[in-house]
Every structure is written in structure tokens, then in C-alpha cells.
Amino acid sequence: MRRSRKPTPQTIAVVLALADNPSGWSHGYYLCRQLGLKAGTVYPILMRLAERGQVETAWETDPPSGRPARHLYRLSGEGARFAEQLRAAAAAELPRASRSGGLIRPTLGEAF
């Protein structure tokens, strides 16, 4: 039985970064740079999402000569639904934070 946990800001950031690129595949290192996160943070998230079936993985089919094929990631259908849930939850959270006068810090994941 899978436990349902509240996703961390880093997980939300990775999922939404993948969601912003729905048609194409992303590289792990690109995600690290895009989000300003370390590989030790991004890859465990990708591993978990892949194990849950929320991320699809594939190997680059035509790598340039001189380097091995890279591993690619994109959201699956289930992952896309998960991303929509996260967006909806964030949208519901924003007005509440505004009403309470709380600051919305521009840190990772808070904007989502």
C-alpha cells in the first residue's frame, strides 16, 4: 500500500518543470540547472516519480559520437494529472495566503 505524503517543494518544482515541457523530454542535469537544485535532490525525486509511474523514462536514440546516450524524462498521463492537482492546490492556496496577509516568499516551490 502506497502512503500518500504531501509533496515537498522540490518535488513540486520538478513535476511542474516537467509539466512545462509536455511534448518533449528533459535531461536530469538540465532540470538541476533550471531549478537550481543539486543532483542529489533531483535524481531521488525522478527515481521516486518513475517508480510510481508518474514519470516516463527513455534513452536518447541518436547521441552524438563520443558520448553515451543520455537518459530522458517526461511526465506520464498519471504524472500530468498529478501536476494539475498541484497547480490546483497552489491556486487555492494563493488567495488564502493573500487574505491572511502572509508573505509569499519567492523560494522554490512556494510560487506553485
Binding site: H27, G28, Y29, C32, K38, A39, G40, T41, V42, Y43, P44, M47, A50, T57, R67, P68, A69, R70, H71
Partner: protein, 261 residues
């Protein structure tokens, strides 16, 4: 470079010689698993990484230790190969080091631990219950010491071997075997404590460790004699090679890694 390497080898041999003269048993118990792990890392280093930089070697070592391979149905991702391929695209040395450290942490921290804990707890509980049964049946002439020294290595070897073989993961075997060793040590400490108190009331001058006659002046003294930290440490040192050897043996049944992974 050769001179430097030779210096390391000579230094290591000198330390090994000194240690073997001071404490040969402890040296053997520690040197055997270290040699096994070292040989695994050297013999199973992925092809194409022989001349890599420190980042490359770190990640290759982590990938080798974690040891999962893609399954034939594609369900299981070879994360070690994925991370090494990604590292190959990074050219800035500082970035390579940072990425390799993070990637190694990601590989080594993969969540096998819950299964490891379950297996380890099972081994420890089974051995603890068996030890309690043996003690209640009678200490005999040798006490419980021979049981706690000789039987756990077999159990630890078997559990590490089966876990490594069934999952094709050296790390899972190592993790399970070593956690099982610690859990079994706790079980031994508990049973020793309980049984030392139990036997003190029945036969106050008998040590549960070896069945010898010892004059204890209190229950506390009897318990401390059996569950002494030094005694437990000796157990741990004696046991420690076996889960490493079990995991190594379990992994030898795996298929060789793909040439271009």
C-alpha cells in the same frame, strides 16, 4: 604517478603488518571484507571509465556498489548508467565533481532500507528466540558464547547472499547483511542480559558466556559479564566479514554489465 602509488602500497603494507602483529584476529576480520569490497570495485569497474577523473571514478564506484541493472522488460531503470551518461555531458571540472557527489548520494540513498530492515529484523528475532530456547534448555559446558560466535556468521552470510542474488544488487545484500548484524547484536545483548539474570538465580556461579564457574556478587555483575560492550564488539568484529562475503557471492550470479552502459 607510479612512485606515488607505490608509496601508498608500501604504506598500506606497513600498516597492515603492524596491525597483524598487534591484533591478528581483528586485522583479519577487518581486512577480509575491505579486500573483498576493493576487489569488487576494481574488477567490476565499468568499461570506458578506466581513465576517468575523480568525478567519474566516484560515480562509477557508487554505481558498482548499488549494482542494479535494467531488467529485460525495461521496468527497472539502470540509474547508474543514466547518471554516468549525464556526467559525460558535463565538461566543467567543478560542475562534474558537484554532480558526481550528488548523483552518488542519490544512488547510495535509494530506498531499499525498508526491505533491509524487515529482513534484518527477521534474522535478529529468529536468532534471539533460538538463543533464548537454547539457554532455557541448558547452558551445558560451553555456555552460549560458542552459539553466538559461530551461528550468526552463517545467518548473516545467507541473508546477504540471498538478498544480493534475488535483487541483483550488491548494495541491497550489503545493507541487509550489515543491518542484520547490528540487529542480531542487539538481540544477543538482550538475551545475554535476560539469561544472565535468569541463570544467576538458578546457579549464581555460572557464566552464561562460557559455562565457567565465576563468583558473581550480584545480578548486575552477572549481566555485565555477559553483555559487556567489549564482548559485543568482539562478536561484531568476528561477524562483519560474513555479510560482505555473502553479498559478494550473491552478486557473482549476475549478468555482466552492458559494454556501452
Amino acid at each position: 604517478m607510479i612512485t606515488r602509488r607505490a608509496g601508498w602500497i608500501v604504506g598500506a603494507l606497513a600498516v597492515a603488518l603492524a596491525l597483524s602483529m598487534i591484533a591478528p584476529g581483528a586485522f583479519l576480520a577487518l581486512a577480509v571484507p575491505a579486500a573483498v569490497v576493493g576487489s569488487i570495485l576494481i574488477r567490476r569497474r565499468p568499461r570506458g571509465h578506466e581513465d576517468g577523473d575523480a568525478a567519474d571514478r566516484l560515480l562509477a564506484a557508487a554505481a558498482t556498489l548499488t549494482g542494479e541493472r535494467a531488467s529485460s522488460d525495461g521496468e527497472q531503470v539502470d540509474w547508474g548508467a543514466a547518471l554516468r551518461a549525464e556526467l559525460a555531458t558535463i565538461t566543467v571540472p567543478r560542475e562534474r565533481r558537484r554532480f558526481a557527489v550528488g548523483a552518488a548520494v542519490a544512488l547510495l540513498g535509494r530506498p531499499h532500507s525498508r526491505r533491509s530492515l524487515v529482513v534484518a529484523a527477521g534474522v535478529a528475532v529468529a536468532f534471539g528466540a533460538g538463543l533464548l530456547g537454547v539457554s532455557r534448555a541448558g547452558l551445558g559446558d560451553d555456555g552460549l558464547g560458542s552459539v553466538t560466535m559461530l551461528l550468526p556468521p552463517v545467518l548473516l552470510f545467507a541473508s546477504a547472499y540471498l538478498c544480493a542474488r534475488s535483487t541483483r544488487s550488491l548494495r541491497f545484500g550489503l545493507e541487509t547483511g550489515l543491518v542484520a548484524a547490528l540487529a542480531t547484536l542487539v538481540a544477543v545483548a538482550v538475551v545475554y542480559g535476560v539469561e544472565a539474570a535468569h541463570w544467576y538465580h538458578l546457579a549464581p556461579d555460572v557464566s552464561v558466556l562460557d559455562g565457567d564457574h565465576v563468583d558473581f556478587d550480584s545480578t548486575r555483575a552477572a549481566v555485565l559479564d555477559a553483555a559487556h560492550p567489549i564482548i559485543l564488539l568482539v562478536h561484531l568484529v568476528f561477524w562483519s566479514p560474513w555479510p560482505v562475503l555473502g553479498a559478494w557471492a550473491g552478486c557473482r550470479h549476475r549478468e555482466p554489465p552492458p559494454a556501452d552502459a
